[in-house]
């Protein structure tokens, strides 16, 4: 919260004049009948989207010239608030004169844009963006009916944020490329989650199939797993510097087993690796002597030198061995 949120904006004051005008006086409200369309030798398509039980519903009418698939007339009926009615009105307006194939390309962003008074000021506040999405959805449905195909075939991708129309693939890609770690960053990069906020996490005002928090968590997990797999591969190839900590310790143990341990055990002692700390210059291997080695005079000189030399040779010459 900040100063501007203390009073909060008045919802209706945030509407553009166009929204207000069209709510008060929609231009394309009405119906087209079968007889009318047939009288012109045209085809009528009527599609519903939403339902009263959802809080908004729209019915779209298209009169289509079958010769060139052109929408020669369009009307709507709407159960909804002012922005729902204004969005439906502008949607019909945008459809008229286009072919069905062209109309399918109309997005909610086009609808919202057409409702703006000036190009850079949003026509409706964020929580009303979903009204323009209805328009987008009902067009797909009408086109599916006319063309005899499943409306889902018009959706090339899974849309996660309906308001900003950001797809799942885009989100994953942006998270990866920019190594994003927070939802706020995702919103900054893609605008997803910046409008009605429903897609951020469950519990917003619409239930969604995908949520940004989950996409982020999953993608981060994938990234980490890939990093790990890469490190594991590197380890197998013997590149000590890029190994994970566990791999490093295992590699050190292996070298100790092979080259050192037998001599220590012969003298009634042993050693264990406690920790490995890497910096740019050095890889510090902390060890502890066990049994007879513990306190033996050469453990800080000859033996230590032998261990360090073996590790340097086999693994990395950045290694320093530090007994504790």
């Amino acid at each position: 919260m900040a100063k501007n949120d203390i009073l909060g904006e008045s919802l209706w004051d945030a509407y553009s004049n166009k929204v207000t005008t069209l709510m008060n006086n929609p231009q394309h409200q009405g119906e087209i009948t079968q007889e009318e369309a047939e009288g012109h030798g045209n085809k009528l398509i009527v599609a519903d989207f939403g339902a009263e039980s959802c809080g908004d519903a729209v019915r779209l009418y298209w009169e289509i010239d079958p010769k060139d698939d052109r929408i020669v007339n369009s009307k709507f009926k709407s159960f909804g608030c002012g922005t729902a009615i204004a969005s439906s009105d502008v949607m019909t307006e945008l459809c008229i004169g286009k072919t069905v194939q062209e109309a399918v390309k109309i997005t909610n962003i086009d609808v919202e844009f057409a409702l703006r008074d000036t190009p850079d000021v949003a026509a409706v506040p964020p929580q009303k963006m979903h009204c323009s999405v209805m328009a987008y959805d009902v067009i797909k449905k009408a086109a599916g009916l006319y063309l005899g195909v499943d409306e889902a075939s018009f959706e090339e991708e899974i849309i996660v944020c309906e308001c900003a129309r950001v797809s799942l693939n885009t989100l994953k890609e942006v998270i990866r490329i920019n190594d994003l770690t927070t939802v706020e960053q995702i919103t900054d990069y893609t605008k997803a989650g910046g409008f009605c906020k429903s897609c951020i996490k469950p519990g917003g005002h619409e239930d969604r199939e995908y949520y940004l928090v989950d996409i982020l968590a999953d993608t981060r997990k994938e990234i980490d797993q890939e990093k790990m797999a890469k490190a594991a591969d590197a380890g197998q190839k013997g590149d000590f510097n890029t190994m994970t900590l566990v791999q490093k310790i295992k590699a050190i143990d292996a070298v100790v087993d092979e080259n050192i341990r037998q001599f220590l055990v012969m003298d009634g002692g042993d050693m264990e690796v406690i920790d490995v700390k890497s910096s740019d210059e050095n890889i510090d291997v902390y060890i502890r002597y066990l049994g007879a080695c513990n306190g033996c005079s050469s453990s800080s000189t000859g033996t230590l030198y032998a261990i360090e030399a073996a590790l340097k040779e086999k693994l990395s010459n950045k290694i320093r061995v530090l007994p504790i």
Binding site: S53, I85, E162, E206
Partner: protein, 405 residues
């Protein structure tokens, strides 16, 4: 003409209450807790207000009425401090309330559930929007510390069976709190007749000023303060007194409760006229029996007309009303009370609340009836619910199937 029909949200300050407040907003600015004359000069006004408020709800001299900043504060105080006093270290862990309480109760209960591990039972209401006393009884256990149930509901105006509920609580030995914000000043409220441990109410709902409410505490029962600080109001609620607010609250309550039956009858007369006229429209219904409703409230559902759309048309006609439904609120859920009473999901988005006051006139009623009918006609003409041409086969929607809803 402009008409204000949102009196369950807040009311106009009664000019007489304003007049009583004026000196305390100007020359009588002393702190009542000071020893000097500037302070003590405020005492007569505050004393009068205390008398008016005690009389207004029928409290006895052994009871406390503690002024707060609002009813939200009073509600928070009761719930959080009953937790502190009886549940935090005691053997109780349970609160009984209803699904249709005001957010100041519901959100506080959610907080106590999440942060303090309190168990809360949210009782359902019947199709009239009323919680039935026997359900209250069946949910009280020996670990129940508090029953908190509103006196009248803000959305529907429905009056809850407070007498029976308070008897049940007495019998079970459980504290009873009632949020009486929508009852006090609208219908007779006499705490002497009931076993009510705590009662919240708010001045701005009965033509008093905003920013002042009160908590009635029977027999001055112990209740850990919500606001700690100086020893104002006997240390029960710290903070320099809102002198003008308290004076205005007292005056407003006295006016509202004087001849309250007459006032109720005249408000009900206008309310009923509006309601009868609107019920002549097709496909509308009003929630709850009039006889059991605050006299100023109508919650009407108009099929095919989305609540916010209707609010818009009324606003264009300079009429202020309200809806708890879909588009109007932040959440796209339907009107929660509508859903709670089991109304069809469809109707949850078509609720309109008209709430009158004793200042609402017959002329205003006529104007509202006409504007309302006009709005309904216009929006039904646009409405898909009333469209005649049916969708192309395959183009129908049966239920709420929106992937983004």
């Amino acid at each position: 003409m402009q008409v204000y029909l949102d009196n369950n949200a807040t009311t106009m300050l009664d000019p007489k209450a304003l007049e009583a407040m004026m000196p305390y907003l100007s020359e009588l600015y002393g702190n009542p807790n000071s020893l000097h004359k500037f302070g003590t000069k405020t005492h007569p006004g505050i004393r009068r207000a205390i008398d008016q408020v005690y009389a207004g709800i029928g409290a006895t001299d052994n009871d406390d009425i503690v002024f707060t900043s609002c009813a939200t504060e009073a509600n928070n105080w009761v719930l959080k401090s009953v937790w502190a006093d009886l549940m935090q270290h005691g053997d109780k862990n349970h609160i009984v309330t209803t699904e249709v309480e005001h957010p100041s109760i519901l959100a506080t209960c959610h907080y106590l559930e999440e942060q303090c591990g309190v168990k809360v039972t949210y009782l359902p209401v019947n199709e009239e929007g009323v919680v039935e006393a026997h359900t209250v009884k069946s949910f009280i256990t020996d670990r129940t510390a508090l029953v908190s149930i509103m006196w009248a509901n803000n959305e529907t105006g429905m009056i809850f069976p407070i007498k029976e509920i308070s008897d049940i609580c007495k019998e079970k030995g459980v504290l009873f709190h009632t949020d009486a914000v929508q009852a006090v000043g609208k219908i007779p409220v006499n705490v002497k007749e009931f076993d009510i441990a705590f009662m919240s109410f708010s001045a701005h709902k009965f033509h008093g000023p905003k920013g002042v409410g009160a908590l009635y505490i029977k027999n001055s029962r112990k209740l850990t303060p919500l606001l700690h600080g100086g020893d104002q109001m006997g240390g029960r609620r710290s903070g320099t007194l809102n002198v003008a607010g308290i004076v205005g609250m007292g005056e407003a309550l006295e006016i509202a409760t004087t001849n309250i039956e007459e006032k109720m009858a005249s408000i009900a007369k206008i309310r009923n006229r509006i309601e009868d006229e609107l019920l002549k429209l097709e496909d509308v219904f009003v929630v709850g029996n009039r006889a059991n409703r605050t006299p100023n409230t109508i919650l009407i559902s108009v099929r095919g007309v989305e609540g916010e759309g209707m609010l818009w048309d009324l606003n264009n006609a300079l009429i202020g009303a309200s809806t708890g439904s879909a588009c109007a609120s932040e959440s796209l859920e339907g009107n929660t009370v509508m859903l709670a009473i089991g109304a069809d999901n469809e109707l949850a988005h078509t609720g309109m609340r008209l709430s009158l006051s004793r200042f609402t006139t017959e002329e205003e009623a006529d104007y509202v009836i006409e504007a309302f009918k006009k709005g309904v006609a216009r929006l039904r003409q646009i409405s898909s619910s009333y469209a005649k041409v049916q969708p192309t086969a395959g183009g129908e929607v049966r239920e709420c199937e929106l992937h983004h809803h």
